[in-house]
Amino acid sequence: MTSFDSDKAAELHRHLHSHLPSDPALRVKALESLAIERGLVAPETIDAWVEAYSEHIGPMRGAQVIARAWTDPDFKSRLMENATEAIKDFGFEGNATGHLHAVENTDAQHNMVVCTLCSCYPFSILGMSPAWYKSAAYRSRAVREPRAVLAEFGVFLPDDVALRVWDSTAELRYIVVPQRPDGTDGWDADRLAGIVTRNSMIGTERDLKAEG
């Protein structure tokens, strides 16, 4: 049973620090062998999870949700009211999206999402998080100098656009609703979904392009 003893955790970490191989591949291999031999997971199940998050669950899900919001005003109002309920239309609810909130970019406001304390992310709707999202640089700077961070992504936010940074400190997760670009009149939701990028749903991209 878990001890929930902080001092014991610190002591075990120090022991492991001096006794484990430094190669992460070997550490994961040890963990996998222990878990399989204890009957906690089958190796084929690990393969299944990898395939699920490589082929089936990813930012294409979020893109479909955004495209629907752009083309269906009723869906958009439900999404803004309760995103956890709204994404059930697609069967996209699940891991880390039990308390999902959609926040909308406008001409006057931009939104950007971070988790400074760990790397919380809405997995079931955006898939695996990008490496930069989990970096110490993004986690430390997104709340303090977000405009400089955006500039590193090539986004130069005008002074008259307010920026709101959402630090995911609890179990709420966020998806940014980017603005629909000009030049997409008459596009159907499938075509629109093709231009919605992962970064635009995290808020490190602002102006989507009508290409595709």
């Binding site: 878990t2 902080s6 222990l34 089958a42 891991n95 999206t97 986690r139 656009v161 609890a170």
Partner: protein, 218 residues
């Protein structure tokens, strides 16, 4: 806790590595780690014990190990703590007395498991909320030991409540294995309140904070 994980506002970490590509994983061991973690593996732990375990890592390891590497290290600590494997077994990479193999799941089954595994962290409140939307509040200027979700950069600061979510599990207690509800609010802080007069006047940072982290403004 005031650990190395509390990165918000820290300086000196350099540019954001923006060109990390779109691939969800860069190494096979990352794929294996992700798949393992999706199965939970340790029924007796809580999400906050997992997070607290990461916080208790050797600080230099926390900063130098990548995301999935930290997960592997932390899971091994959690296995040892729980007794799933002894330290000797962890170092050997094998258990002395293997159990029967777990049943295999298909991709279709795990995709469905994602959908049905939508976790609700809200609890029925045991007391009325002390604050309402629009209220000004002050955050505590100290954290609670050992685990808290009140980051250092937002302590002792004035903010405005912009949403109330009812009661949610309090992580400070969750890290001790206890299920206690506390009212949860989204609080907006001006960038200038957090970072001083050089910050952009229109910018804000919002955090979800529990009622026990808050007091009325002074």
């Amino acid at each position: 806790m005031d650990g190395i994980h509390d990165l918000g506002g820290k300086q000196g970490h350099g540019p954001v590595p923006v060109d990390t590509g779109d691939a969800p994983f860069s190494h096979d061991w990352e794929r294996r780690m992700w798949g393992l973690a999706r199965e939970g593996l340790v029924p007796s732990m809580t999400i906050d014990w997992f997070r607290h375990g990461l916080e208790m890592m050797v600080p230099a390891d926390y900063l130098t190990q990548s995301y999935f590497e930290k997960w592997a290290t932390n899971y091994l600590m959690i296995f040892a703590d729980d007794g799933i494997a002894s330290l000797q077994e962890i170092e050997a990479g094998h258990v002395a007395d293997p159990a029967p193999r777990a049943a295999a799941k298909t991709t279709q089954e795990v995709v469905e498991q994602v959908r049905t595994g939508c976790t609700d962290f809200s609890l029925p409140p045991d007391a009325p909320a002390k604050f309402s939307i629009g209220d000004k509040v002050l955050t505590l200027d100290h954290g609670t030991a050992p685990h808290t979700r009140l980051p250092g950069y937002a302590r002792g600061r004035h903010g405005t409540i912009i949403a109330h979510h009812g009661a949610h599990l309090l992580p400070d207690e969750g890290a001790k294995g206890r299920h206690v509800g506390d009212h949860l609010y989204t609080i907006s802080f001006t960038a200038r309140e957090l970072w001083g007069p050089d910050a952009h006047p229109a910018d804000t940072v919002t955090l979800e904070l529990w009622e026990s982290y808050l007091v009325p403004p002074r």
